[in-house]
Structures are given as structure tokens and as C-alpha cells.
Symmetry: C2
Subunit: 599 residues, 2 copies
């Protein structure tokens, strides 16, 4: 059985790259230590391996079914989630007082990633619930927290979010679900919601659905969207379960992958009594939902990374064990075949995977550190800058891993050859599961518009300046390391190209040429993503370059692998950004110029 | 229902690009005309639409099963193949005298592509059988042709090829199946064969398995491989079916896609009486098999193209019909949403798909024309050069569409968003089906070694020189067209880079640095592939540029689409080749330098 994760790499990212031990200087984490972090990770690892991984294939082959209006699924999903709740993982970041582990975000993320690697579809129920709890923490009333958030944190209720409708996926301005105020103070909702992951199941006492809807008379478009708590079962004043709310499961979607997570079509108010409770102010629902969406986008990126990681480790193990063929200068058929990891092209495919998944993993941890600093730093400027940097990186963290760790899964299949294409090996499932990630929580096309049209423009381009400043610090440190000067110069060149390109497009947008300025947003996202990941590799290489001389044995190999992977990324991958830059700088309008009838 | 193919594009490729009408100047095709070609294509189109397409999803959901030692599958597969046989498509290229249609290769390929677009898995049985018949035509004895080939051409027998074994996929030097001469003149085979598509089924009277095995005492490695006819049922002298041969179905492989085609694990000689008949000379089996393999490689490329095409047309239709969102400079939510084809990024995804699938389709037709010329041209030099060019292009034709038309399928899913990820739409199946193509008939890694290590080196680099000469002719023609000068210069630059890179690696190989010279063969294949497809687009644009001014209505739109797609490929895709060239020219050895223990 392949290991779930390379624990050496996990330790490297947490303690050597992000230095999470120094987080214990925050009063909130003062009672923690590397030992308590490792204890949490060990527990997560054990539950992920024992309870999540074993049914990963089974819940793919036996996907949830609709039987007499209820969702039936393999019992192992519930058992796994019970073990997860039992061990306290619904409350990883919660206060000790509230029964939580009070872990810093990066350590909690490390734990979550293990569940995702073991079984993305089962882990999704927990991830969605966590997102709802975090959003209620930020925007719910005290009463709403007590009645809905606390039971989610205790693992008794699960949660999910309901944005899309059958006719409105990416375009939330066009949602039609209505919420009419009722005399009792709540609202009555009517409408349909599509693509709702975890929208119905029998895994918990209750499901808290966070629903976007429009209150009649409000402004048109996204400015008229409000957010409602719609529990599957109404919750009485004393917390006891009340009657069934009028939110009905109208159908399950049958997907290519990610099959263990129910994906539902829901109807609200078919009988005129779907009760919802307004969160915060009317018409401000989208901004509240974005609190959850931003977390979900980073979660999607982490999920994509987890699937990439699982495939990488599996194909690596296979490549070490499978003998096949000989070196091209050693054709004597009487010699023994070599393990396929000896072949240059197999190493290329493994190096690509390593670069993609470990690069994305490092970025996820970096984003998690930013989130933590944006909340817990004393210095208001640091809090603000961390939040700004996270805003810029969120579309990258969502889209880059979902594109490139999917590519990693494609390569993992290729390493296994025909075996990889069969359902006897797990890599084909990772590939199918991962194909969802470029789509949900805002397609990668939406992320590209978000990055270029909003995030790098806002606050006078302050976010990108900040990102450049952070990269510059790494570049300067790397220039002082003889082994990393080539990479430092390459990243400096790429960053310069990014600034030039961004300025050019910024001018175009400022002049009102919005359509043409954003026409190649995809290339801009690809370019930014590869530069950010190159930076992540340079950061890793800096740590490795300083540590490798004093290291021996497996540790030395580990650092040499980091240095070589960094070299690979800079030589084989980073140069793509100049192709994107040239296209963007040329102001190419080929896509806009293609009339629909010319296809 | 989406059209199977854009018939306008099919006509364009056949009559305007490849000018197949002039093939009627060959005596062999003198009785044909555009009308007879169109009649054959119409018939293929009708059968593909009526008999192949309707069960494409059904045979995916209900894949073949092993029941009491026999393969059970949905009955529509047999019905479709019966209609195919009935209409004479097993004998498309056969002499009129032998009951064939005596069609030229490109027209036959056009017909085949329609069956592949409609249902790749059902079409595969026919394609494999066709390959066996063609190989027996070239290398079988008269007796073998009569007894095995003729019934295949008549559609009574099906055929397949048996190369891989469980321990030996890519490395045929290591196969262990043995063939011992028996006193009666035949051989007795023992061994196992893995990944045999169409290796067992009940679709025809008999299955002719072409098996690679080693005759004891022969040379080691690939030089000791012989080729045998192993019928599932022995065939009596008079052609009547004889006893069951000792070749047993040991299991079915369960794949991610391409599920309608049985993929089998076969055991030969479990009871010591698996009878095989030697084809040609002993120990020359691999060269005979390559006759079939080369055809199969082009067939794989065409299959990948067909799947890409199917996804492209489906996503194009969806993009025209699905309203969603507004232009970025038109946010007023009271205006109607636009069809998603209006969005620049959706057009980008459609243009990428169009470039990949129509570029690959043009290449397949060009390869088919080369094959025809290599056989039927009077001038021996033209025959020789056509064969040489085809040799160089075969690995490109196998690998490029299987990489990039798979990418097209990934994009087709993305255009459909969440709907594309469900099994209610066909695009997810195309993606799963197409993932096989980079693996079978020689992985794309093997194709890269074949291209760089053999094809561009052989005959003093004559194949690449010839390819360059052909491209140069298109470049010069395009330089005379004002609208195509940018592309002509870009292709000239890319070709120059390819020559320089090839020379550099050629020198390295000649100096004996084989391992390092071939280390980045994958990048070389990618580079060559993109240049060849750019050339295919320039050829298409040349035709379009000359025709567009006189065209009106749908015809004008068609030509404008070709010109715009060509522009897109040259601006968005071709520049990648310089990244590959820079890597190759730098002599990068990062993959070789990565020790296995560093991963």
C-alpha cells in the first residue's frame, strides 16, 4: 500500500518552509508545540489511513443512490465521518474552551489534506461543513451561532452551500430563487438549486443549507442577493430537532468522478413552506457567501493538490518496482530489464508530478499562513497586507492546482501504462475525481477574470506590488546562494515580464477597453500561476541549499531532490511564461475576432 | 443531436486540401469520381449515425462481461458490425473483383473516421480486423490469405494482434511466449498475452489472433521474435470451422474508458495444444507486425482525433445554445444573458479544440495520401519519398492527436461546466475513452524515442530533409499571400529551430552520447508535432485565402473560420516550440541527474 503522504515533505513544508513552530509566539497558540502539532497530524494520518482510504474505490463503484426519496450510500462513509468527528477534527481550529484543538491554520490544513488524499469524496462532507461553520462565525448572529454553528462544530449537523441554479451556474446575477418575508420574522423561499454537493444525505442529524436568494423589491443582479440559513430539519429553541423543512431532493447528479459525494438538485418551497433565516443584512448575501467561497476556493486547490499527490506517490512506487526495458545505449536483451524509474522519460513524468504537487502544496500552506497572519498578527499593517496578498493568490490557488495537478494525474496514469488505465489501480480514479476541480467553486475561466479584472487592479495594483516585493526578497536571498543564481535571475525576469504585462493591460482597462483587455485572461492566469509556483520552488530550494551540506543519508537525498526539482521547474516549466507574456503584450485579439458563425 | 462531423470540413480536407478527385488519374481508381466517393461517405455516415452512435453510452455503462467463460456484451455492438459488414466496409479498399469498393485510402479513412466518431469502441473491432487483413495481404502465404484473410475481408472472421504480456508491455524483447515446431508443420504455442483488444468475443464466426512468440533456439531479444496466426477456432481445408484452439480467455480488463471494446488477458497452450501457423520467415515477426503496427498507430491517432472531434462539435453546439452571463463591459443585470460562445474564454476553448481536431484530421488525411502514393505512384522516387515521409510522420500522427485531442476533450468538458462532468452528456465519456490513446500501440514516450532516435536519423536524416522541403514549399506559397506572411515567417523560424535542434542532437548521438541525446525526446516530439500541425494549418489557410474572396454566405464563413483558426494556432500554440527548442539546445540533463532516491 502506497503511503498517504511523504511525511518528510510535510515536515519540511510545515517546519522548515513555513516555520509553524514560531506560531507558538502568538498567545492563541502558546500552549502548542511541535509535539502537539505532530500528535494531531498522527491522529489524522491514522484515521485517514484506517477509515477514509479503504472505501475510496468502493464509494466510486457504488455511488450514492436515490431510494424512496432518501440518499443511500455505502456505510463506510458515515463510519469514517464518525471517527473524524469523534477525534475532534470538526473543531480543529476552535477554542480549547469550546472543546476545540485551537490549532493554527497550516497545521489544520495539513490534517485536512490527509483526509483528502485518502478519500476526497468523503472528506468533502467535512470540508463543506467546516466552511459553513466558519461563515456563520463571521456573519451569523449569536442566536444563529448557537443554534446552527455549534452543532456543526460538534459534528452533529453538516452544512453545505447553495448558489447555482439549473439556468445560472457562473452567473449568480441571474438566480431566481425568491425569499418572501413572513410575519413570524423568517422568510419563505421558493426556487431550485443545482450542483449542490452534500445537499442531501443521511450522514448527520441535520443539514444546514446556506442558500442565496432574492428578496422581492431588492436591487437587480448580484446587489440584490441575500443569504439564508435553510435547515433540512427546523431546529427548536432548545436545540432539539423540529419538523422537516420544505426543501426537497429532486434528483442526484451522476458524475464522472468524485462520485462518493452526493451532488444534488434541490427544490425549495414546493409546498410553500420552505423556511429560511436571513444572515446579516438583506442584499449583502454575496459578500457573506464569498467568505465561504474564498475558503472553498483554497479548499478546491488543496483537494486538487491532494489528488495529484496521491497519484504521484502511487506512480512513484510503481516506477521503482516495475522492471521494463533497458537504457537506449544498452540493448543487450540478455541483461536484466531496469526499473522504469531509470528511464529518462519516466523520470520526466515523475519530476513534473513532483513539481506540480509539492509546488501546489507549498502554495496552499503559504496561503494558510497568510490567512492566519491576516487574523492573528498584532500589527495592523501586517494583517492588512497578508489579507491583500491572500486576495491576489486565491484565484491562483484555486485554478493552478486544479489545472496542473490534474495534469499530474494524467502523467501518473501514463507511468503505469495499461495498468494505469484499469480500475484495478487507483490512478484512473484520481484523474476522474480531479477533473471536477477546474469547474466547481468558480470555473478556472472565472478565476482568470477575477485575477486580472479585479485582484491585480484593486487598491491601485497594491496586491501585485506586494507579491512582487515578497518574491524580490526570495530572489535576493537566492542570488547569494551560488547554486540558485540561475533560478533567481530567471524568476526576476519572469516577475519583470509579469509587471510589464500587468501594466499594459491595466492601461488598456483604464482606457475602458474592458473586453479586449480581459480577452486573454486565461493566459494571464497561467503565467501568474507558473511564476508563483516557481517562487514556491525557489523558497523551497533556499531552505534545501542551506541544509543540504550538513545533511546525511535520507535527509541529504531529500534536499537534493528539492534542489533538482527546483532546477527542473525552472528549466522545463517556467519558460512557458514568456510565451504567455508575448501573447498578452501583443494585444492579440484572435478570440474576439472569431465570429460565432465561423466555427 | 449533434452532427457526427462537419461535412463541409470533410469535403474541404478531401477535395480542396488533398484533392482526392485527381486520384482518379490512377488506373486503380479510374472508375471512381467525386460522386462515388460521396456515396460511400453518405452510406458510412448513415450507418454510423443509425447503428453506431445510439449505443455509444450503453456499451460504456454496460461493459462486456465474462459469463461462463464467454464474453457477453450489449447486442447493439453485433448489430452495428453486421450493418458495417453488410454495406461492404470491411472491403473498402479491396479490388472490385474481390467484391471490394476499391476506394482510395483517404476516402476509406474518411468513412472509418465516421464510425470512430460515432462509437470508437465498436469501431475498434473493425479497425483491428482490417489491420490483420492488411498485414496478411502483405506477408501471408496464398494459402493463409485464402483461409484467414478472405473471411476477414468478408466480415465473417474478426482479427486482432497479441504483442504484450503481463510483464512485457513496451519491451517486446522480453516476451516469453514460446512456439515449438510440431511434426505436422504448425507450431505449438505456450504463454500469456495481456491487453489484447478484441481478443475474445462472440461477434463473429472466428477470431484470427496474430501472435508474437519466440521459437526456441532463435536469437535473443527482438531478433528472435516470430509471428503466428492463432485462430480461435481452427479452420478446415475447405474453410469450414474446425475445433476450438487452445487459446483461453483468462480475464477481462476493466478500463476507465473505451469500455465497449473487450480488453483481454489470454492464455495460450494451457492444455498443450495451442496451434499457430508461422507467417513468413522465422525470427522476422516483429518487422511483419510493424506493418500492422504502423497502420494501427495512424489508426490510434485517427481515433484520438475522432474523439476530439466529437467533443468539439458537442461543446460548440452547447456554447451556441447556452445563455450565461454578460460581457465584462456590460454588467447591467436587466439585459439578457448572452450565449456563452460570446465569451472570449469560451471562444478560446473552442478555437483550441478546432485547431487540435481539424489540424489532426488534416494530418491523418495527409498521411493517408502518402501511404497511397507510396503504393500506387508510378514514379519510384515518389513512391520512396512518400514512404520515407510517412515513416517520419507516423510517430507524430500517433502521439500528437492522442495528447492534444485528449486536451480538446478536457476543454469540451470545461465548456459545458458542471453538465460536462455528468454522465448525462457525452463529453466526459470522450475524455475517458481518449485517455487510452497516449498509452496503446506504443506509449507516447516510445513514439518520442522512435522519432528522435530512429526516424529523423535514418537515411542520413533524409526523412526530415524531405519534410522540410515539403514545408518550405508551403512557406513560399504563403509568403506570396499578404494575409499569410506572418504565419509563413513563423513557420520558417520554427522549421529552422527544428533543423538546428535536430543537428545538435544528431551530433551528440553520433558521438555515442545516446542516453543524454535522447533524454528530452518528449520535448522533441512535442516540438515536431506542433510544427507539423502548424504546417497543416498553413496548408489549410492557403486554400482558404485563395477561396475566400469568391465565397459567399456559409462558404465564406467557413473559409474565414479556417483563416482565423490558423492565426490562432500560430499565435497561441506555435510559440511553444521555441521553449522546447531552447531546452533541447541547452543540453539539459535534469531528468538524468535526478537520482531515484531523491524523489
Amino acid at each position: 500500500m502506497t503511503e498517504l503522504i511523504d511525511r518528510r515533505n510535510l515536515s519540511f513544508v510545515l517546519y522548515e518552509l513555513e516555520d509553524v513552530e514560531q506560531l507558538t509566539r502568538y498567545p492563541r497558540f502558546a500552549e502548542h508545540s511541535r509535539e502537539t502539532f505532530e500528535a494531531a497530524i498522527d491522529t489524522a494520518h491514522a484515521i485517514a489511513a484506517d477509515k477514509f482510504a479503504p472505501h475510496n474505490r468502493k464509494s466510486d463503484l457504488q455511488e450514492p443512490r436515490l431510494v424512496d426519496g432518501r440518499v443511500e450510500m455505502v456505510p463506510e462513509v458515515r463510519e469514517a465521518l464518525e471517527a473524524y468527528v469523534e477525534a475532534g477534527f470538526t473543531a480543529m481550529e476552535l477554542d480549547f474552551e469550546a472543546g476545540g484543538m485551537q490549532l493554527p491554520g497550516p497545521v489544520a490544513l495539513a490534517c485536512s489534506s490527509l483526509f483528502q488524499i485518502a478519500n476526497i469524496a468523503t472528506a468533502a462532507y467535512a470540508g463543506l461543513s467546516h466552511g459553513v461553520a466558519a461563515m456563520l462565525e463571521a456573519h451569523g448572529s449569536e442566536e444563529q451561532k448557537r443554534r446552527y454553528m455549534d452543532p456543526i462544530n460538534a459534528g452533529r449537523f453538516f452544512g453545505t452551500m447553495c448558489l447555482s441554479e439549473p439556468h445560472a451556474g457562473s452567473s449568480l446575477a441571474d438566480i431566481r430563487t425568491r425569499a418572501e418575508p413572513a410575519p413570524e420574522g423568517h422568510y419563505l423561499l421558493t426556487g431550485s438549486k443545482m450542483w449542490i454537493s452534500g445537499g442531501d444525505h443521511e450522514l448527520a442529524e441535520n443539514i444546514i443549507e446556506m442558500v442565496l436568494a432574492k428578496i422581492p423589491g431588492g436591487p437587480p443582479g448580484v446587489k440584490g442577493i441575500s443569504l439564508f440559513i435553510v435547515p433540512k430539519y427546523l431546529v427548536n429553541e432548545d436545540g432539539s430537532p423540529g419538523e422537516r423543512n420544505d426543501i426537497q431532493l429532486a434528483g442526484l447528479n451522476h458524475k464522472m468522478g468524485y462520485r462518493g459525494t452526493t451532488n444534488t438538485f434541490l427544490k425549495l418551497g414546493e409546498h410553500g413552506r420552505c423556511i429560511g433565516y436571513l444572515v446579516g443584512e438583506p442584499h449583502r448575501g454575496l459578500s457573506y457567501m464569498f467568505h465561504m467561497m474564498n475558503g472553498a476556493r483554497i479548499g478546491v486547490g488543496m483537494g486538487a493538490t491532494a489528488l495529484g499527490y496521491a497519484g504521484y506517490l502511487h506512480s512513484l512506487e510503481y516506477a521503482r518496482e516495475r522492471p521494463q526495458g533497458r537504457h537506449p545505449d544498452q540493448k543487450d536483451p540478455s541483461t536484466a530489464p531496469v526499473p522504469i524509474i531509470e528511464h529518462a522519460d519516466v523520470r520526466r513524468m515523475l519530476l513534473q508530478q513532483k513539481c506540480y504537487v509539492e509546488g501546489a502544496y507549498a502554495l496552499a500552506m503559504y496561503c494558510s499562513s497568510l490567512l492566519l497572519r491576516s487574523r492573528h498578527e498584532e500589527d495592523a499593517r501586517v494583517r492588512d497586507e497578508s489579507g491583500l496578498l491572500l486576495d491576489v493568490l486565491t484565484p491562483v490557488m484555486k485554478a493552478w492546482p486544479s489545472a496542473w495537478c490534474l495534469k499530474a494525474n494524467e502523467l501518473a496514469i501514463q507511468v503505469l501504462g495499461g495498468y494505469g488505465y484499469t480500475r484495478d489501480y487507483p490512478v484512473e480514479q484520481y484523474y476522474r475525481d480531479n477533473r471536477l476541480n477546474p469547474i466547481h467553486e468558480g470555473t478556472n475561466g472565472i478565476q482568470a477574470l477575477d485575477l486580472l479584472g479585479r485582484k491585480v487592479q484593486m487598491r491601485g495594483g497594491g496586491g501585485l506590488s506586494l507579491l512582487g516585493r515578497e518574491m524580490q526578497a526570495s530572489i535576493e536571498a537566492a542570488l547569494a546562494e551560488p547554486a540558485l543564481q540561475e533560478q533567481a535571475r530567471a524568476l526576476a525576469g519572469a516577475l519583470e515580464a509579469l509587471r510589464r504585462t500587468t501594466d499594459g493591460i491595466g492601461t488598456e482597462l483604464a482606457e475602458g477597453h474592458v473586453r479586449s483587455g480581459l480577452a486573454n485572461a486565461h493566459a494571464y492566469l497561467e503565467m501568474t500561476g507558473h511564476i508563483v509556483i516557481a517562487w514556491m520552488w525557489l523558497r523551497q530550494a533556499l531552505v534545501a541549499a542551506r541544509a543540504v551540506d550538513g545533511a546525511r543519508g535520507a535527509d541529504e537525498s531529500f534536499y537534493r531532490g528539492k534542489l533538482q526539482a527546483c532546477r527542473f521547474f525552472f528549466r522545463h516549466e517556467l519558460p512557458r511564461v514568456h510565451v504567455h507574456a508575448a501573447l498578452l503584450d501583443s494585444g492579440d485579439r484572435t478570440t474576439l475576432g472569431m465570429a460565432p458563425e465561423w466555427f
